[in-house]
């Protein structure tokens, strides 16, 4: 079993829709949670970064963390064609020398005009 499972998609939505992207994890040592967006032939771009359970909002993006259920989500409101990309959840623990990110497999999103 992978430490991080991500809904694989692909996901296709009309412009203006609300998008929900989800990841679950099994390692309770994970304490920091991130969402990255990756356009084709580009590196991952950090969208959201959170430590606490609950919601964190930044513009059209809301990151939600539920540590008790080991579940994180990213919501995109009023989705735009420019949001079409692969979205990656990532997380890291607080233990020892571990600083590396453990990634989900990514969800490919297409927003249709």
């Amino acid at each position: 079993q992978k430490e991080v499972e991500q809904d694989p998609g692909p996901l296709s939505v009309p412009e203006g829709a609300i998008v929900s992207l989800n990841c679950t994890y099994s390692n309770s040592a994970f304490q920091y949670f991130m969402w990255y967006r990756q356009y084709s032939r580009k590196g991952p771009e950090l969208l959201m970064y959170t430590y606490s359970s609950g919601n964190k909002e930044d513009g059209r993006f809301t990151a939600q963390v539920d540590k008790s259920s080991k579940y994180i989500s990213l919501f995109i409101r009023d989705s735009q064609p420019s949001d079409s990309a692969t979205y990656l959840c990532a997380m890291t623990s607080l233990r020892g020398s571990a600083r590396q990110l453990t990634f989900g497999s990514g969800t490919q999103l297409t927003v249709l005009p």
Binding site: G43, P44, L94, F103
Partner: protein, 114 residues
């Protein structure tokens, strides 16, 4: 503020050859991380350098190695290239080695092995 820069953008090599990839972190960042993004395998951690020292490595063979220079730039070396080494190699940097420091990625070097 300039982001993480990587060079070259593309490389084509043959089996058995050696390759060196380079990374310049965001100005002021001391930690550099290397990841491999291979088709079907997702992003996997390779190496972490901070203040010139290797701090941690992922589950990759010893032919994957690297170093960090006094100016915090880094290079990744891969010896005895194999076909399965074909991937996008991504470098990331963070401000320091604190647990709460987010990692910012470059656009990677795409390595193709023939």
């Amino acid at each position: 503020e300039a982001g993480v820069t990587q060079s070259p953008t593309h490389l084509i090599k043959t089996r058995g050859q050696q390759v060196t990839l380079r990374c310049s972190p965001i100005s002021g960042h001391t930690s550099v991380y290397w990841y491999q993004q291979a088709l079907g395998l997702g992003l996997q951690f390779l190496l972490w350098y901070d203040e010139g020292e290797e701090r941690n490595r992922g589950n990759f063979p010893p032919r994957f190695s690297g170093r960090q220079f006094p100016n915090y730039s880094s290079e990744l070396n891969v010896n005895a290239l194999e076909l399965e080494d074909s991937a996008l190699y991504l470098c990331a940097s963070s401000r320091d080695r604190g647990y709460d420091q987010p990692q910012h990625f470059g656009d990677g070097t795409r390595l193709s092995i023939l």
